[in-house]
Symmetry: C2
Subunit: 330 residues, 2 copies
C-alpha cells in the first residue's frame, strides 16, 4: 500500500497532473469548477497528501522556519521558541526547533543541517556573542537569518533584542525608590550579549566597586552558590539583582533556608519573567520582554529583502513587573 501520488489523483479525476496540481496547490489560474470538484473529491477519497520533499525540491521553498536555541532545558528559551512558534503558525508555516546544547560547535552543526534545504529562514538565539559570529555570518549569506534576544558580533545580520540597559536601569531605579541602595549583581554567562549588556549597565550605574558575583553557569544550582556568598555579606547588601530568573529562583530559596528574609533583609529581582516566578514564595520581581512584538518583528524581517537585515541591533522596551520579592505590598 504505497502512498497515493498526484498522478493517482489526476487519473482518478480524469485530468492531467498539471490540472490536479493547479487545483490542490491553489495556483492563481482558473480551473473549471466541475473539474476542481472532481480533483478535490478524488484527493479526499484517496487520502492524498502532497509530498513535502517533492514540492520543496521543485519550488525551492519549504514553508518551514528553523529556530536554534542554546538549550531547551532552560524554560526561558522554551518561552522564546514558543513566541516564535505562535507567529509562524499564524502565518501558516511550520517550525523546527533545535537545541544547541550550550555549545558553539553544536550550534554551528545544527545551523548547517537546517540550511541543507530544510528551512526557508532561520531564527537563532546565539550561544555566544563572540564565538557564534562566524557560523551565523556564513549561514546568513545562504538564507534569511535573524538573531533573536541576543546578538553576535560579526554576524552580518540583524538582531531583535531587549533593551537590556534600559531594563537594568528600571530595576535599579525601582530598588532605589524603595530605599535599597546597597545593591549587588549576581550574573552568569557573560559570553552572551544580553549577559554582557546587563553587567555593563550595572557597572556603569553603580561603578566598578559595586558588589558583583559572577557565576560559571546559568542554572539554579549556580543561584544557590551565589546565595551562600550573598549571605556572607548580608550586612553590606540590601538588594540583589539577578541577571537571569533561574539564578533568582535558586538564590531566593537558598537565602530563605539560611534564614535571610526576602524582601525584609534583602530584596531580590530576576530578569526574564519566566512563569515560575509567580509561584514562588515570595513571587519574584522581574523584567518582562515584549515577546509577541519581538517575534512579530522577527518574522517580518525574515521575510523582508536581504538589505533590511543589514547587521544591526533592534532594542525593544522592557517592562518592570513588581512582585513581593522587592516590595512586600505588591
Amino acid at each position: 500500500m504505497t502512498a497515493p501520488r498526484l498522478l493517482d489523483v489526476a487519473a482518478a479525476a480524469g485530468v492531467s497532473r498539471a490540472t490536479a496540481s493547479r487545483v490542490l496547490a491553489g495556483t492563481p489560474r482558473n480551473v473549471d469548477p466541475e473539474l476542481a470538484r472532481r480533483v478535490e473529491d478524488a484527493a479526499r477519497e484517496l487520502g492524498y497528501r502532497t509530498n513535502h520533499s517533492a514540492r520543496a525540491l521543485r519550488t525551492g521553498t519549504t514553508g518551514t522556519v528553523g529556530v536554534v536555541v542554546p538549550s531547551l532545558a532552560n524554560p526561558y528559551f522554551v518561552q522564546l521558541a514558543d513566541a516564535i512558534a505562535q507567529q509562524v503558525r499564524a502565518a501558516g508555516g511550520q517550525l523546527v526547533v533545535s537545541d544547541a546544547a550550550n555549545s558553539v560547535e553544536i550550534e554551528a552543526e545544527q545551523i548547517e543541517t537546517l540550511l541543507g534545504g530544510r528551512v526557508d529562514g532561520l531564527v537563532v538565539v546565539p550561544v555566544s556573542a563572540a564565538a557564534s559570529g562566524p557560523a551565523v555570518r556564513a549561514a546568513a549569506k545562504r538564507a534569511p537569518l535573524v538573531l533573536f534576544d541576543r546578538w553576535a558580533s560579526g554576524s552580518g545580520t540583524v538582531a531583535v533584542t531587549l533593551d537590556n540597559a534600559a531594563a537594568m536601569r528600571l530595576l535599579l531605579d525601582h530598588l532605589d525608590t524603595l530605599g535599597r541602595h546597597r545593591i549587588a549583581l549576581v550574573a552568569a554567562d557573560q559570553a552572551s550579549s544580553s549577559g554582557a549588556e546587563r553587567l555593563a549597565a550595572f557597572t556603569e550605574a553603580r561603578g566598578t566597586g559595586a558588589a558583583t558575583v559572577l557565576l560559571p553557569s546559568f542554572t539554579t544550582d549556580a543561584g544557590r552558590t551565589a546565595a551562600r556568598r550573598i549571605a556572607a555579606q548580608r550586612n553590606e547588601i540590601d538588594a540583589v539583582v539577578c541577571g537571569a530568573d533561574v539564578l533568582a529562583v535558586g538564590l531566593v530559596s537558598t537565602l530563605q533556608r539560611s534564614a535571610v528574609s526576602v524582601p525584609g533583609e534583602i530584596a531580590v529581582t530576576g530578569f526574564d519573567d519566566t512563569e515560575i516566578l509567580e509561584l514562588l514564595d515570595p513571587p519574584i520581581t522581574s523584567i518582562r520582554h515584549p515577546l509577541t512584538a519581538m517575534a512579530e518583528r522577527t518574522l517580518t524581517l525574515l521575510q523582508a529583502p536581504a538589505r533590511e537585515r543589514a547587521e544591526s541591533v533592534e532594542r525593544f522596551a522592557p517592562q518592570l513587573v513588581v512582585r513581593a520579592s522587592t516590595d512586600a505590598n505588591a
Copy 2:
C-alpha cells in the same frame, strides 16, 4: 550566488555526479581513494551541502523524527520531548517538535502535516485517550508511530508509558508509612490516559468515598483553586496526592499563604518530578519517570518492523522521590 550542487562538485573534481554521490553519501562501493580525496576537497572548497529535499525525494527517507506533544507551555512535556531529542540525536537524526495546543483537532493537523514526507517516524503524546485514537490510527498506517507517556484507545499502535497504577501505590504506601491515612486526590485532565489511570488507581485503593477534587484544567492556577477547597476541609484531610506537578506547585504555594503548614498539617505530593519541584520551599515529593529508558525503547520500536508495534501498552516502573513536602526530615 546560487548554492553549489552535486553537479558542481563533480565538475570541479573532474568526475561524474554518480561518483561524487558515492563518495559523499558513503555508498558501500569502492571508489579510488585519489578520486575520493578530490571530491571531498572540491566539496569543502565550494561549501557544498547536500540538498535535503532532493535526497529525501529520491531515497524516501528523511532522517527526521517528529514529536507531537499536547503543549510546550507545560514543562513536563518539554522534558519528554527533550528525552526523545537526546535519543534521536544520539542516533544521528534530526527532530521536529510540534505543539498540539491541547486540541485534538490541531493535533490531527500537526500529524497530517508531518506525515507529508517530512519525517520517517512519529512519536506522539496524545491529547486525549478517547478522541486522539482515530487520527493516530490513520497515521500509524502510513508511517511508524509510537505513543509516548500516554496511550489512546483504538490507536492501532504501541504505547510506551509509565506504570501509573504502581506509581499511585508508591505514593499512597509512602503516605501510609508516615501515618497519613486521610488522603485526598487532586486531579485534572481525565481525558488523558495517565490522568484516568491515576484516578482509577486512587479510587481502587481508597474506595469511591475518598475525597477527590477534580479540576477542569491542568495548570498551576487550577492548583490554587484546589487549595481553597482543600483548606476548607483541613480537619478531615492530612495528605494530598496531586495528579500532576503543576497542580502541586499551585496547591502548595496557596496553602502556605493560607497558613496551612506543609507538611506539618497536610503533606503534598506531585507526580512527574519536574525540575521546579526541587526549588520550592518545601521541595515536593514526586514520582520520577525512567525517561531515558522509555525514550530508548521508543526509538527502538520506531525502527522495528511494523509487527512489533501492534496495539499494546508497555509500562515502565516509576521511582518515588521523597522530599520535604511529605517528610520534613527528607
